[in-house]
């Protein structure tokens, strides 16, 4: 979810009323926002709806508040026709096939405007645009551009222009290598033979999308009066709402929106399209989902407060909503807006009446029973991560590597694989507590993850118990006595059988058998393994599977 910064005073001006900060904190909830921090005039706002980019700027937040505290007025945006043409070259199909554009005139560009527009542009391209991959947005000083504008491609060294915030002319290739934005976003053009470019009738470059604007026209300042906006990417479904959100925000600050004729080889479109969209909601459905007893006129008032326009009242209410919204997929979305307008905290919570019988899972009941038995035997329960690393479960345990569930995009080597047995977690714990009084008797009841091709998820969780004693003298007999007491308390008849295991001392390790099936291992840990964990005390331990044990 995007976090945005806003000016308190600017937000109040957009709302049209000076509201106290505490009141504002409540009011921003109407826009699914929360004020996280206030620092003088500067507000840090968390915008929670990742599906509503229109709420990621002061203009959008103000819209939602205004309609709730004043008499609502349906936000309609007039689009005037301009004669600006953008010609889309067939060649862009391979690199960045689509663009939608607009012109906004007669702007009064303030500091607050600049910071909000730049921030909105970044948040849309970052979140909705998947870090400029799906949507990149450019805003330009319209008065420095001579239409028609061409959206075409050039060879990496086929043109030179001064990129934003630089003073020298560079080729696109040089920009990717040297400009900070080129370094950051250059990977989006990796492997392309030609790069996309916006260029005007005088052959002045507007930008190299999705990387950087030109210094000449791609710089908007407080002197700027009129702007040209383009959104480029791969899917008109993302680009259209992105452009609408941008121009609506500018229009809310007094700008006049003009359409642009975008000419593709196979079609011509006029953008932006800010005609309100149609939807409906059933009165009974509102009542069913909300649980609120509302009259038709109450519902209509609440809808208007949420910036809908009522087209037709009735059992089914026909509606219009502003084109900057792209989130309404189902009448459920409209129901939520009604409830938000009503006010979550005005609703009397109603306890559930259904009678159901609850139950802790068998697995957890068993886990707890087993943990309590181990506690009664004088053992301390520990809890560790199931994520670990290969060194812990293999090398340090003197084992050869085998196939184990492994993560691709790790944040740290420490947490890169899922443990396939518990004992390494106990060894690590001992290793961390060498300064603590001995004897140390610990156990863990927990899950391990095993590779299992037969499963839907190709893995299987197995519940296990591992227990271990570390002391200045401790041996097989000590841990065998614990296992024996444990097994007699859970009422399991088991057998021990001599075996070999690289983590345990030869001749001092046994397999634990239950109903003829091997369920675990017991023995004295090899000194080599103790040294790997930097332990100076001998350790005796066992580990058993507890699925189906009791």
């Amino acid at each position: 979810m995007p976090t945005i910064e806003a000016s308190y005073q600017d937000l109040c001006e957009l709302i049209g009323k000076k509201v106290g900060i505490e009141e504002l904190k409540e009011l921003v909830n109407f826009a699914k926002c929360e004020i996280d921090a206030v620092d003088g005039d500067n507000l840090k706002i968390e915008a929670k709806d990742t599906n509503r980019p229109d709420l990621w700027s002061s203009e959008g937040i103000a819209r939602e508040i205004k309609s709730r505290i004043f008499k609502p007025k349906f936000p309609e945006y007039k689009v005037k026709k301009s004669d600006v043409v953008v010609e889309v070259d067939r060649k862009v199909a391979k690199v960045r096939p689509f663009t939608v554009c607009a012109v906004v005139k007669n702007l009064n560009v303030s500091n607050a405007f600049l910071s909000q527009v730049i921030q909105l542009q970044e948040k849309i391209a970052g979140t909705l645009g998947r870090n400029r991959k799906e949507v990149a947005i450019g805003v330009y000083d319209y008065d420095k551009i001579k239409p028609p504008i061409r959206f075409t491609t050039v060879k990496p060294d086929g043109i030179k222009f001064i990129p934003l915030d630089f003073t020298e002319k560079m080729t696109p290739k040089e920009i990717l290598e040297k400009h900070p934005k080129g370094k950051e976003f250059g990977h989006l053009l990796a492997g392309k033979k030609e790069y996309p470019i916006f260029i005007d009738a005088r052959n002045e470059v507007l930008s190299l999308p999705p990387i950087i604007n030109s210094e000449y026209s791609g710089k908007v300042t407080e002197e700027t009066k009129n702007v040209f906006i383009e959104c480029s990417g791969f899917n008109l479904k993302f680009l259209m709402p992105a452009l609408n959100v941008m121009v609506a925000a500018m229009a809310d600050r007094g700008g006049e929106i003009y359409s642009v004729k975008v000419v593709y080889p196979d079609k011509t479109i006029f953008t932006p399209d800010l005609d309100p969209k149609k939807t409906f909601v059933d009165v009974d459905y509102i009542k069913k989902i909300s649980g609120l007893k509302l009259s038709l006129s109450e519902i209509c008032k609440l809808l208007e407060k949420a910036n809908y326009k009522i087209l037709k009242k009735g059992k089914r209410i026909e509606l219009l909503y502003p084109a900057y919204r792209n989130d309404i997929m189902h009448q459920r979305d409209v129901v939520e807006d009604v409830i938000i307008s009503y006010g979550y905290n005005k609703i009397e919570p109603e306890p559930l009446k259904m009678k159901t019988e609850g139950k802790v899972s068998e697995a957890e009941i068993q886990n707890e029973k087993i943990a309590n038995i181990m506690v009664s035997l004088g053992f301390q329960e520990i809890l560790s991560y199931t994520l670990t690393n290969k060194a812990n479960i293999f090398q340090k345990m003197n084992l050869k590597e085998e196939k184990v569930a492994e993560i691709e995009n790790i944040v740290s080597e420490n947490w890169s694989v899922f443990r396939n047995w518990l004992l390494p977690s106990l060894m690590e714990f001992f290793s961390n507590n060498q300064h603590v009084e001995y004897p140390q008797k610990i156990f863990e009841v927990g899950n391990v993850v095993l590779i299992d091709e037969k499963q839907e998820t190709k893995t299987r969780d197995v519940r296990k118990l591992a227990a271990a004693i570390a002391d200045s003298r401790v041996g097989y007999d000590d841990i065998a006595a614990v296992l024996d007491a444990f097994m007699s308390l859970v009422g399991v008849k088991y057998k021990l059988e001599r075996t070999e295991h690289a983590s345990f001392i030869q001749g001092r390790v046994a397999r634990i058998l239950f109903n003829g099936k091997e369920i675990g291992i017991i023995g004295e840990i090899r000194p080599e393994v103790l040294e790997n964990w930097k332990l100076e005390m001998p350790v005796a331990a066992f580990e058993i599977e507890i699925e189906n044990l009791i």
């Binding site: 939520e336 199931t386 947490w415």
Partner: protein, 422 residues
């Protein structure tokens, strides 16, 4: 008899020879069998000691500035022989022992070496009991361990003599929550740690191009990489995403089964709710899960890569007022407060959505839960025709408060002392 061990100095001499021996060896190699102090001092370590003992033993004499060798170098030096024997744990002559103790080359360490001796079986090269001392002296190296009868339990555990063990406090806290939820009529759900994206995302109507599915917000598996899709639900979930179901427009993009097949460590336990909805749950019914979840967060005092989530669902003729009623009940029964606030929230799988803030008597207002009513695009494909309330509780802050810790990582404490005392 008491046992003795070499001091650091003793060990050094055993390895490199007594300083007085080193001095006379050096002189013996010189043509005149003598040298000046200035020549000898840089060449003999611990020269003052070497000279003192060489003079005392009358191996050398001092003439002004010159040291002259008096006798051929002895082949056996009693002190060195004794150091060797002591190191091997053998007995030595009392007289020489006294000298060595006086020279601070040997110390009395009765316990340690007794245990080492005991740990080593009589034969000397086979270890009977592995002890701390054998580990620290590295005496196990190159030795075999005496095999013992591993199929018999010789020591019977005397329970009365055992010091008390303890449950892990965070685990115990989770157990309490579990019981509380069962008391409130919820049935516990379980499911696999490693999930397909299908259950983690697609079945929850999270579009494949949703930012939350991006590389940096959730883990992906390197091995195994792909799981299987549930045939029964693939078609209808695909339709829900592409064209919409139950009166929805859908997300309107091309749904890719290969993405849905990818495996990932579950990022939330809502996937368990989805699996439950898909397996003919009870209606009316209440379900909950407490499960480990995984996200590639930056690790700090409030984020871990592995954490527990508490989530659940309610199926039946329920509405938003009931959702708030349920949240209030959680606040009362689990956070111990009646003061609650509800704030509009967003989750891709619920609409409407609400955040629960609860005024904890000590912590003040805390974000205690996220909730909502599952979207029909989610419930319809899984065969559910009634509204489903979905909720998740942030209980870790409560657990941290209860246990008096400030760092979320300490919920999985690595500190035995703390676990014993808490």
């Amino acid at each position: 008899m008491a046992s003795y061990s070499l001091t650091e100095e003793g060990k050094e001499y055993l390895e490199k020879g007594l300083p007085e021996k080193n001095l006379v060896l050096l002189l013996d190699n010189m043509p005149q069998k003598s040298a000046t102090l200035g020549k000898l001092i840089p060449k003999v370590k611990n020269f003052p000691i070497a000279l003192k003992w060489a003079l005392e033993k009358e191996w050398v004499m001092k003439k002004g500035d010159e040291i002259i060798l008096m006798k051929p170098v002895p082949e056996e030096i009693p002190e060195e022989e004794a150091l060797k024997k002591i190191a091997e744990g053998k007995e030595v002559d009392e007289e020489i022992l006294k000298v060595l103790i006086e020279r601070n080359l040997v110390q009395k360490v009765s316990e340690t070496y007794k245990i080492v001796e005991e740990g080593l079986a009589k034969s000397g090269n086979v270890i009977d009991v592995l002890t701390h001392e054998i580990l620290t002296t590295k005496l196990w190296k190159g030795k075999k361990f005496k095999a013992i009868d591993v199929t018999q339990v010789r020591k019977k555990l005397e329970l009365s003599k055992i010091s008390p063990g303890k449950r892990q406090p965070y685990n115990q806290f989770l157990s309490e929550i579990r019981k509380k939820l069962a008391e409130m009529g919820f049935i516990e759900m379980r499911g696999p740690t490693i999930e397909t994206e299908f259950w983690n995302f697609d079945a929850l109507y999270q579009p494949q191009n949703h930012p939350a599915r991006d590389w940096w917000s959730t883990y992906r598996m390197k091995q195994p990489k792909f799981g299987l899709l549930p045939k029964k639900f693939v078609g209808v979930v695909k339709k829900a995403h592409e064209k919409g179901v139950a009166g929805s427009t859908g997300w309107g993009y091309k749904w890719d089964p290969r993405i849905a097949m990818q495996l990932m460590p579950r990022a939330h336990c809502t996937c368990l709710s989805a699996r439950t909805l898909a397996s003919k749950p009870k209606i009316p019914g209440k379900y909950f899960a407490i499960a480990r979840c995984f996200r590639p967060d930056v690790i700090d005092a409030s984020h871990g890569v592995e954490f527990n989530q508490v989530e659940g669902i309610v199926l039946g003729e329920v509405n938003f007022k009931n959702l708030l009623g349920l949240l209030k009940q959680f606040a009362e029964e689990i956070a111990g407060t009646e003061k609650v606030r509800f704030i509009p929230d967003y989750f891709p799988f619920t609409e409407p959505s609400a955040q629960l803030s609860a005024k904890h008597p000590e912590l003040g207002w805390i974000e205690f839960g996220g909730s909502g009513i599952f979207r029909e695009e989610l419930t319809y494909p899984l065969g559910i025709k009634v509204p489903v309330l979905a909720w998740g509780l942030g209980i870790d802050r409560l657990a941290m408060f209860r246990l008096g810790i400030n760092d979320i990582r300490n919920l999985f404490s690595k500190d035995l002392k703390w676990l014993r005392e808490v």
